[in-house]
Amino acid sequence: MSLDWIISIVENNWHLLLRAMGITLLIALIGTVIGALIGFVIGIIDTIPKTKSPKQVLLKVVRFILACYVEFFRGTPMMVQAMVVYYGLDMALGIDLNILTAGILVVSLNTGAYMAEIVRGGIVSIDKGQYEAAQAIGMSHVQTMMHVVLPQVGRNILPATGNQLIMNIKDTAVLSVIGVNELFFQTKSIAGANFRYFEAFFIASILYLVMTFTATRILRWMERRLDGPQAFEKKEVA
């Protein structure tokens, strides 16, 4: 009976499964946060207004390099990226990364490439009037970005960032190719040890769903908090 097997697998392996869930969440969360930071940096560099200063040449070079990075990580499967980063760093630079660190690095770089476009789109979509109003009270470009534009971008791209987080929770599964002990990898070994593939992966699917559903709810709550209260309190005026 499948149900008996499911119960017995959970009973005997719950601590392993929990630990694997923890690793999956850890990689997905840290990867999304670092990826978002990378995205913000690239998005900001991409939208620096044109000036006549000689630094423009440097800016062009930096933008070209960043464009190459974005194209590579958006244009190749994360599974392949994991292999290239993990084995490549070791071969080329002699850096022997801890498997977990390699996993986080791959997810961060992959997310960063997607987030760069999301952030750039978010910055471009802010009304020109917001920039002009900030300039008109004497703000520099940096101040305008810090106090006016980026806070609005952050709020506007939160749904897309949440999407990335959910994709990352699921896509950590591909890191099993370099042996990261996340939920898919752990499930595979439990399944193999018991010769029970359907039951083991059925449990895994439920666990993935619990993680993504929880993440969705938390993100919705964050969006509502950032929007502030629907109504405002009128101040008493004497």
Binding site: G129, Q130, E132, A133, Q135, A136, I137, G138, Q152, F232
Partner: protein, 244 residues
């Protein structure tokens, strides 16, 4: 009277489209100057050139004796001396009414937060929005937004207030509340440069009216001179269309 802004031979083109051609004019301290003219006459562009939201192609902008275009490094500091009110309000959407009014004071003028709040409350009271300090822009009507935008500009204690069609995006019943605030500012002796289509208002508050057409100043003078006794055919034709 001291000249605050002196504009000499100003020109501006967008591509091959010459929007301003050799414009000369000045604003004196305490003066209320209104720019009128049909759409596309260059009046908004002229106003936006004054605080360098548009970069002129030629000419000089002299602010209190300094040629601003030659000292482009101090643009940000220069802009703090000019308060700008936009047609589309452009309140910072991420900030409350109070924060809209203090962010510039704290970040640009480096005032303390306590002082900034005090200044903000004073000007929000002037525009009748002191009860709305905790509101966000999306919770306000157009007229309320524009009044907050005026307070935000005043908080920087500018020498000149610039108004770019401040009532053009408002529902008719909200125009009055904004004009009332502007009239109060004019009565208080503020230096104001206004682009507007509100002829009655222009007539009442202006010390001088400037009529522009096709990128040049056609004529200027007191409201009665320009509106009641125009010298140029183009002015007459414009006024006929406006009051027809």
């Amino acid at each position: 009277m001291e000249t605050v802004i002196d504009i000499k031979h100003l020109s501006k083109s967008f591509g091959s489209n010459e929007v301003l051609k050799d414009v000369n004019f000045e604003v004196k301290k305490g003066e209320v100057v209104t720019l009128i003219g049909s759409s596309g006459s260059g009046k908004s562009t002229l106003l936006r050139c004054v605080n360098l939201l548009e970069t002129p192609n030629g000419g000089e902008i002299i602010y209190k004796g300094n040629d601003i275009l030659k000292e482009m490094k101090n643009v940000e500091q220069y802009r703090t001396h000019l308060g700008m009110v936009f047609q589309q309000f452009n309140l910072f959407n991420n900030l409350t009414v109070l924060d809209n009014c203090i962010v510039g004071q704290v970040k640009v003028l480096k005032r303390s937060k306590a002082e900034a709040i005090k200044v903000a409350e004073e000007y929000l009271q002037l525009v009748g929005m002191e009860a709305y300090v905790n509101a966000r822009p999306r919770q306000l009507s157009g007229g309320q937004k524009q009044r907050v935008a005026i307070a935000r500009a005043l908080c920087m204690n500018p020498d000149v207030m610039l108004f770019d069609e401040p009532t053009s995006a408002l529902d008719p019943e909200m125009v009055g509340e904004v004009l009332k605030v502007m009239r109060k500012l004019a009565d208080d002796g503020n230096t104001m440069l206004i682009v507007t289509h509100e002829m009655q208002f222009a007539r009442e508050v202006s010390d001088r009216i400037v009529f522009m057409d096709k990128g040049v100043i056609v004529e200027q003078g007191t409201p009665d001179e320009v509106l009641l006794n125009p010298q140029h055919d183009r002015t007459k034709a414009f006024l006929q269309r406006t009051f027809a």
